[in-house]
Structure formats: C-alpha cells, structure tokens
C-alpha cells in the first residue's frame, strides 16, 4: 500500500501519542493502533493518560485524554519518554503535550478545531499553528472535521454521529505514515458494531479517507517502516497490568484446585481487576462487590476461612480502610491476597496518576506487630506472574500477602508471551485432613511454620479462631505474656522464612561496576532501558530490581555489599531507600526520587546515573 512517490525509512523504534478531548475516542484509537502494531510483529508498550473526570470541560487542558505507544524492532521496556509523532485533535491537546514530544516531532492537528474560541479555552494567546510556537516541527494541518463529514456524505447519517468517527481519520493518517494495513481494523469494526452496519461503514470510510488524504497531500516527505521484533518463538498477545493480574489469579486458582473468591470495592485504578474476574464465573470464580473497602476484605477473610482462594483488590485509600482487617488475617493466619494498585496520594490524591508511595503502608500500616509478605510486580506482563506467586506464597505459607502494582502498570500494556498454565508450578495449600487425630489449629509446619487450614464442613476439625491472641498449638484464647511473645515471634519468623522459597536477587548490567542502581516495582522497564543505553554508550553500571520486599531475597546483602555507590530510584520521597537503611544499615545509599504523578523518563535517569558515575 506504500506510495512509491515517498521514500520509506526504516526505523528501530518510534513513539506516537494520540491526544484529544476525553470524549474524542483517543483510547480506542490507541488500542486499534496497538493491535495493528502487534500484527506487524513489533514489540511495544503503551500508556494511557487520562483525566479522573469522565468528561472534563470540553476543549480545556484538564479534559485532554492521551494514549502513547512505543514500538520497535528491539526489546521495548517502556511506553517511551517523548513522542516522535503527536496527534492533537484540538488546541488543548497540543498545549497539554508540549513537553511530551521531541523537539522535531511530527504534529498532526485537526485544524478545524483550532477556532479562536478553542485556542482561548486552551489558554493560548495566539494561534500556535501560525505564531511560530511550533518552529522546528513538521506540522500536518488536516481539516479533519470537514473531511470526516465529506467522507460519509453518501451515508444516511447525521453529522453529529459522523463526527464520532473523527478519530479514525487521524488513525488512517498514522496508518499511512507507518505503512500499515487497515484490514484488521475493519474486522474490528465489523465485530464491534455487528448490529450497526451504518457505524461500521462510516468508520471504514473515514479511516480510508484519512489514509488517502495523507497520501494525496504528500504531507510526509517520507513514510516509515519498523521491522518485526526478534521475539522468541511462541504465541503473544497484548495485556494491561490489571488484566494480567486478574489472569494470574485465575491461573493460580486452576493450579491450586481452589475456587477463587474476590471481595472488592470499585476504586481507580484497581477496578478492572474486579471487573475482569466478574466475567469468569465459568471457572467457578466468584466476585462479590462489597458495600465498602472494609467489607471487601472482610468478606474475603470469611471466604478464606471457608476454604476459597481469597483475593481483594484496592488502591491506596482503600488499603488504609483495610488495615484493621489485615491485622485479623495476620492473627488468624489465613491466606489472603491483597492487590494494591498504587496511585498518587495521600488521601484522594491523584487517582489516575501513578506513584510508589504505598510501600510504608504495605509494610507497616497496621496496629500491633503484624508482619506479612510484601511483593511488587515489575511490569504489566509481570503482573501475571506476580499475582500467581502471591497466591502461591499466601496459600502455602498461610499468611496474607500484599502485592503492589501501580497505575502505570495497571493501565499500561505490553506484549505478553502466553504461557501454558500447566507449565506453572502446582500450588499446594496445607489443608487439614478430616478426622486427623493430631489436628491442632495452631500446630505448625516445621519448615514454613504455617498452620493447617481446616475448612468448615470437614469432619473432626471443629475449632475457633479470631482476632484475640491465641495460645500456640491449641488455638485457645490466651492472654499469657510468654505466649504472646512466642506467637509474635512465630508470626514474624513465618514470614521471614518465605525467603527460603523465593528466587535469588539478580544483578543486571555490568556486575563488576562501582555503581549499583536499585529500584523496585513498576519502574523496572525504564530503569533497564536507561542502564542498557548507558552500557551501550560505554559506561559501567550495575542494576538490581526488587520484586520481593518482605522478606528480601536471602542474597540481598551480598549484592549491596559489593558496590562503592548505591543509588535507589523510586516514584515517592524515598520509602524503599529508608527501608533498606533500616534493614541493611552498613551501607550508604543515595536516592533519586520523583513525585509528580509521572513515570521516570529514560533521559532523566541516564542524566542522574552519569552524574553519579562521573562524581
């Protein structure tokens, strides 16, 4: 389909950002481009950036919704620092993204939307298309609204409905620019609007019109092509972190033979986990939308007592509400997986923005001595494996687990190599056998210190548990001072011993470097990209990324002890670095923090690392 007039340039990678009003359909546009990117065989990662209001005032900067995709022929670990191509459906979208594109980015605008009213609404004093603001950029002016109307003039469709396809005009232009075929997208329209042939037709016409417009006006001196990525053999798909989390939980249910129960309350950005699990009752997975965060976790503890695979999902403020119940789960030593999708805090904070600031809360946010497992997923696709492992550890060690993900991972997507479920380890919870004469509620496994899980309905195992301190072994209520000391130590030791059952901490990059950069959770991709680029540029740097936080992998201190300088990077004010200082006080830690509701960029990390290397 490439026009022979234009030269086709091979690129290694590119970043496109689609931006428009929150009702302009930018998320759909982005995801359709992602599908076509997958079909083209590129590796990619995406990130949506949208306001917390459903329809913020039209035409304003606060109402801009964006979707960014980074795709290439090599490993892609991030959704990209800055866009090489920006699609701006109105002046506000241009304004909102001025810092999110490269200095020579191509900008495609709907110049029909650049009316005086809209320009003022966006906060510009003059028309940015004509006042020189965009010098250095290739600006492609497309009268998208007008051409969309024209494209569907033959159809019996009113202009208001037709304008809903405007985003497809922009997509058509991008398809042309990147030499993409639109057949797959047409199939999508046919499936999505099965009962509305008129909508299918108008979307097709508008997309084609955009494609042909880009061709006809010779807007681009070149078009671009990105070779397929060299991925390992196998079947792939695109997943968001929340989807991967839900599927990891379902895979764990299958490998444990238990029925999944999720008791949860909708909260941004965790809601999709509950929604996805609600769809899969065919696997005997039960979802319960509770009346509040507290009932979400407490109903799940009830389900855990009754023998289900217990999951609750939430985000920061919701985790605060669950604190007391987490203590109950610690005390009753029942399994419980809490997925906390971190967002900007404190309080309501920045609900649609990402942060890593719930670490203290996860580690310490309970009354009493209440240890539990804390782990963090490192990428959108890793959410699958982290959720699976969280379940495995929780069930086999009879302890609550908090799995931290974040808004970036949850809503961002990346390419996921589909595993075979039976290649995942079996999960074997310590379920007590009927009429076991030796059964005691708080007798413990010698290696794990887990107590047996006696499920109501099982003959011969009647027992009582609860929030009051229990006597070791018998499980009777006890206020005995020595027993409380013993039980406190046992609960701590039980969680510490999980270190015997997790993988070792690894170092990437140049292991023999003087400098070690450290991160945890959702920043893995951007850290790795920065480190890989520096290595290519001839710098010496080592990198270690933590998934297991409580307990740490056993070789953690070995690693920390090897380096002259340690720099800990996090999207918060330094919670992990302070935890390291507490756990391993012998070492000096530098810290690099950012708390703007935004992910790290590769560029800023590289700059920081180089400064440290050159010090």
């Amino acid at each position: 389909m490439t026009d022979s007039k234009n030269k086709v340039i091979e690129l290694e990678k590119a970043v496109i950002r689609f931006a428009g009003d929150s009702g302009d359909g930018m998320q759909l546009t982005g995801s359709l481009f992602s599908d076509s990117t997958a079909f083209a065989g590129n590796d990619f990662a995406t990130f949506p950036d949208y306001p917390s209001e459903i329809r913020a005032p039209q035409g304003t900067v606060s109402g801009v919704s964006g979707f960014q995709i980074h795709f290439g022929s090599n490993d892609i670990h991030t959704s990209g620092d800055q866009a090489d191509v920006l699609v701006a459906m109105n002046p506000a979208s241009l304004k909102a993204n001025k810092n999110w594109m490269t200095n020579d980015a191509v900008i495609i605008v709907d110049n029909d939307a650049f009316t005086e009213k809209n320009i003022i609404k966006a906060g510009y004093e003059n028309n940015p298309l004509t006042d020189g603001t965009l010098n250095g950029h290739l600006v492609v002016n497309a009268p998208i609204a007008t051409l969309t109307k024209a494209a569907v003039s033959e159809l019996d469709i009113d202009n208001k409905s037709a304008q809903k396809s405007k985003n497809m005009f922009a997509l058509g232009m991008i398809f042309y620019m990147f030499n993409r075929s639109y057949e797959k997208t047409f199939t999508f329209f046919e499936n999505k609007f099965k009962t509305k042939p008129l909508i299918v037709e108008s979307n097709k016409l508008v997309l084609k019109a955009g494609y042909n417009f880009a061709d006809t006006i010779e807007a681009f001196t070149n078009t671009f092509k990105i070779a397929p990525a060299k991925l390992n053999k196998g079947r792939y798909r695109n997943v968001t972190g929340n989807l991967a989390t839900a599927w990891g939980l379902l895979a764990a249910a299958e490998r444990s033979g238990l029925k999944l129960f999720i008791g949860s309350y909708p909260i941004t950005p965790a809601t999709e986990i509950l929604q996805e699990l609600a769809k899969h009752k065919q696997f005997s997975a039960v979802s319960f939308q509770a009346e509040d965060e507290i009932a979400g976790i407490v109903s799940t503890i009830g389900a855990s007592f009754a023998g289900a695979l217990p999951v609750t999902s939430t985000s920061g403020p919701g985790l605060s509400l669950k604190s007391e119940a987490l203590g109950l789960a610690v005390m009753t030593e029942l399994p419980l997986v809490v997925v906390n999708v971190q967002r900007g805090g404190p309080s309501t904070g920045l609900p649609t923005k990402s942060e890593q600031s719930d670490l203290y809360q996860a580690l310490f946010g309970r009354n009493g001595e209440a240890p539990l497992i804390v782990m963090a997923a490192s990428s959108s696709s890793d959410c699958f494996y982290s959720a699976f492992e969280a379940v495995k550890l929780s069930l086999e060690h009879m302890t609550p687990v908090i799995l931290l993900t974040d808004g970036s991972l949850a809503n961002g997507s990346e390419v996921f190599k589909i595993p075979k479920v039976n290649s995942l380890p079996k999960i074997k919870p310590p379920i007590a056998k009927a009429n076991d004469a030796d059964y005691k509620p708080y007798a413990r496994d010698s290696k794990k210190l887990s107590r047996p899980w006696a499920i109501p309905g099982t003959e011969g195992l009647r027992h009582r548990i609860g929030g009051l301190e229990k006597e070791n072994i018998s499980g009777n209520v006890s206020h005995n001072p020595e027993n409380h000391q013993l039980m406190s130590e046992l609960r701590q030791e039980k969680v510490e011993r999980v270190a015997d059952f997790i993988s070792s901490q690894t170092v990437e990059g140049d292991e023999n470097a003087d400098i070690l950069v450290v991160s945890w959770g959702g920043t893995y991709g951007v850290m790795l990209t920065a480190v890989e680029q520096l290595l290519k540029e001839g710098y010496s740097i080592a990198f270690t990324h933590f998934k297991h936080i409580m307990p740490f992998p056993k070789n953690t201190e070995d690693i920390l002890s090897k380096y002259k300088k340690i720099l800990v990077c996090e999207i918060n004010m330094g919670q992990f670095v302070n935890y390291l200082r507490m756990k391993f006080p012998k070492y000096d830690y530098g810290q690099y923090n950012k708390i703007q509701g935004l992910p790290f960029t590769v560029a800023e990390l590289k700059k920081e690392f180089i400064t440290l290397i050159n010090e």
Partner: protein, 343 residues
C-alpha cells in the same frame, strides 16, 4: 441379616455443641440464656455438627463463638455481616450463625448490617440488643432511648435511637423476629424458625445487661408487666394478648390501636390476623415499632418473606456460565481474543 444404619452420628445432643472454654459473661447476664437456647436448637436442625459456623464481631455477645463447639470465627468490630456473607457465598452448604450486638451492628457495623439484610444470604443473625455498650463499660448505643443517662451522656442522650426491626425492613430485609432473653422456650422456637427460613433471618433479642443497663427492658419482660406489654405474633392467628387474653390489636385508619374484646362492641373477629408473608412491609414496620405503654411490644416472627439468596443466585450464574462459556480453562482464556504467533 438386617441392614444396620449407624444413626449415632446423626443424633446430636446439646453436649455436642458445648465448648470446653470457660464462659466469661457476668453472672445474671442475659447472654447465658441465649447460649443455652442456641445449644438447644442446633441438635434439632438435622445439620451435621461440622457444618455449623458461628461468626461474630466485637462486644460481649461476640465472644459467643468461643463458647460453642463448632467452627467459629471471632472477627473485628462491626464486620461480622461481611465475614458471614463471604463464608456463605464461598461455601453455601454451611449453616452460618452470626452473633452481634447493638453497638456492633447498629453503630460501627451499621453499613454492613443494612447490606446483609438487602443481599439476603442464608445467614441467621442473632442481634443481642441490650441498648448499651457493655464491654467498654456503659456508654450509650444507637438503640439507647433518648434521654438515657450513661457514661458518655451524663445529661441524657440527645439522639433518636434505631429500632432494629424498622431498620431491617427499611433495608428490604425478608425476615425479622423478636424475642426476650427471659424466655428460653420462645428463643428456642424462634431460632429454629430463623434457621428454617431460607435467607437472612434477623432475630432481635431483648437482652439484659445486668451491670450497665439493668432492667432496660423491664417493662416488657417484668414478671408482673410482661403479659400486658408483650404480644406473641402467630401467623394466621388474631393478635390477642394480655393477662386475661382480652386485649387485641386493630388497624384504626392508618394506625395500630390496642382494644379490649367485649368493649365498644369489639369481638375477636375485629382483630388483625398476623400475616408475616406479605411482600409489603408496611404493617410489619408498624408491628415492629409497637411499644408500651400504648401498645405491646411484638414478639415472634414479624416478617418472613421468601426471596432468592445471594449465594443461590451466584452459584446458579456459575453453573450457567459453565454451560455457555466457550472458555473451558485458563489456557483458553489466555489464548482468547487477539493473539499472534512468532515462529
């Protein structure tokens, strides 16, 4: 040779449910009689002893699970309804009994209480209403009568109390009964009816706190006053009460009114006949709100309406989805939708 069926396991007695733990309620506390009544009822229900689960929140009454030899979980303050709902949905074959008090369910757990009534899991909820916080030693609760002097209302409480029955029905609950802790026979009978009702059965027990709120229900439960101040409602029977069985309830306009049979031409046939099964809760709310001295307090099953339980709906949906879903396992799910192969 005859087939001998071992029925020994099925025949249960009170002893099967008595725990070896010391019961630590105050001497004279109404809770002792409630425990005894529950121990009376459990063996009579035809349910294997392993299938009982007793659930509670926090408060004096919430120590209950420790005093029963069943599966039990003593939760956190106010949240027993959420625990019970989770247990029942996860494992519908269990007979779930939730023990709670007026602080636990009307104050800190008020939200969960209304939602458990609305969702209607088949859980039996025994609400010990002593109209005071006992475990924290005597502060007013959401059911304490307005004007009551307590440790935190030294000038008298300023607050309008809840009537639990009215709250249950306002939350569209399907079963509400009331009993007094002084009548083991009444409690035993009503707990059994609550158990047999398929859905959330809420039983308010007028319980006496001998230490901090002694005789708060005295007018209703007192030896000399109870017959004139209580009416036991029987389905299909006219509403008659009183020492002489000569008093009754009629609907006078839109109000309930106490009358005397034989006075002003009133005969038994003028009295209201109790029907706990009407979907409309209007009369049931009026009955739950009756209070001395004008009207007797209603005892027995005030409302009992059949409705699907949440767990029945959930598991029916699971079965249906199993039939119609093209996804038979998680591999199918992971491979569904848009995928691509790299060779």
């Amino acid at each position: 040779m005859e087939n001998i069926i071992d029925t020994a396991k099925l025949v249960l007695t009170k002893k099967d449910f008595e725990s070896d733990q010391m019961v630590k309620w105050c001497p004279g506390c109404g809770d002792h009689a409630i425990l005894k009544s529950v121990e009376n009822v459990f063996p009579e229900l035809g349910i294997p002893k392993e299938d009982f689960v007793v659930v509670s929140g926090i408060g004096c009454s919430s120590r209950f699970p420790y005093y029963m030899n069943t599966y039990g979980i003593h939760g956190i303050h106010g949240r027993a309804a959420a625990l019970a709902t989770g247990i029942k949905i996860a494992n519908p074959k269990l007979s779930v009994w939730m023990i709670t008090g007026d602080g636990d369910s009307m104050a800190i757990g008020g939200n969960h209480f209304i939602h458990v009534a609305r969702r209607n899991p088949d859980v039996n909820i025994l609400l010990f209403n002593n109209k005071i916080y006992g475990l924290t030693k005597g502060q007013y609760s959401p059911t304490t009568p307005k004007g009551s002097k307590t440790k935190t209302s030294p000038q008298g409480s300023f607050e309008t109390p809840f009537n639990p029955g009215e709250l249950v029905m306002g939350a569209r609950g399907k079963f509400f009964a009331r009993v007094v802790d002084t009548n083991i026979k009444m409690m035993t009978r009503i707990f059994k009816e609550a158990s047999e009702h398929h859905g959330a059965s809420i039983v308010e027990i007028l319980a006496n706190c001998v230490i901090f709120n002694n005789k708060v229900h005295g007018l209703i439960t007192g030896r000399d006053t109870k017959e004139d101040n209580q009416i036991f409602l029987e389905a299909g029977q006219p509403m008659i009460y009183g020492k002489e069985k000569d008093k009754g309830i009629i609907l006078d306009g839109a109000q309930l009114k106490s009358v005397t049979i034989g006075e002003n031409g009133i005969t038994e046939s003028d009295l209201m006949v109790h029907d706990p099964t009407t979907e409309d809760s209007g009369i049931h709310i009026m009955l739950a709100n009756m209070a001395p001295p004008e009207l007797p307090a209603a005892m027995g099953v005030i409302r009992s309406v059949k409705a699907p339980t949440i767990e029945d709906s959930v598991w029916a949906s699971v079965e249906h989805e199993k039939q119609i879903s093209p996804l038979k396992n998680v591999d199918d799910l992971l491979n569904s939708g848009s995928t691509w192969d790299i060779d």
